[in-house]
Subunit: 148 residues, 2 copies
């Protein structure tokens, strides 16, 4: 079982920004979370649409956490990003799974998914962030080194 | 969030066999669960290694559910098939995620995964099976129509 790669990047972006007082460009965010720029760029658009970050345009622009982003929970964000109705692939290339009628698995997996999210509903993304500890985070990078 | 395609096929195979008194070839199983033969074949090998099915070789051979397969739970099987230590991608193409040191997400997601599996630990795969209800299951297929 795994969360999607896109959910993973969105969480990383918000986590990073909760511990960051300055505006960061998407390129800097990409370097700091170790994720390709185009993935980060899409994630920024999505979490912005969800109200978790604010974007300032222009040469000195960038992305910063919003008040809503500081209080959003991991469970809430993962629910917003989960656009798959079923955890199992209840369809085949020929149509629905032949076992679907009367199958108990679909409902059971949905209940289990609810238990998964419920476990994360009280954890703010802010509380997950590593903060500014020494470690492999490339602290020498700064906004002035890369363009917007 | 989603279970892996392989876990999905393994569950389908065991579900089908719990409701099936006869030996079924992998080709018949593939048709009945609406999944390509090569995927089903790998799934049969895996659930056999886990003791959930028995295989009889030969012209009239096939696969049937084992006593352990009748009592195995969905949670147990998914745990056995889950070979990923982390739900998020805690690595990048350059090495570990830069946020990893001090990151709270890894542990939080693992706890949530445990809640997910715990929800499925009391549900036998047998109880999930749709049985022999009328519906899109191609009941006209029989073992004699396809080779072993």
């Amino acid at each position: 079982m795994r969360i999607t790669a896109f959910s993973d990047v969105c969480l990383r972006v918000v986590m990073l920004l909760t511990a960051e007082p300055d505006l960061l460009t998407s390129r800097v965010i990409a370097e700091r979370v170790g994720t390709p720029y185009n993935h980060v760029s899409k994630a920024v658009m999505r979490v912005r649409a969800l109200g978790l970050v604010e974007v300032e345009r222009g040469r000195s622009g960038g992305v910063r956490i919003s008040p809503a982003g500081r209080t959003a929970t991991v469970g809430w964000l993962l629910r917003q990003l989960d656009d798959r109705p079923d955890l199992a692939g209840c369809e085949t290339h020929d149509g629905p799974c032949p076992l679907l009628v009367g199958c108990g698995l679909r409902g059971a997996l949905r209940q289990a998914r609810e238990a998964f999210y419920a476990q994360l509903d009280d954890l703010t993304i802010t509380s997950m962030a590593p903060g500014r500890r020494p470690g492999p985070v490339p602290l020498t990078l700064s906004r002035t080194q890369t363009g917007p």
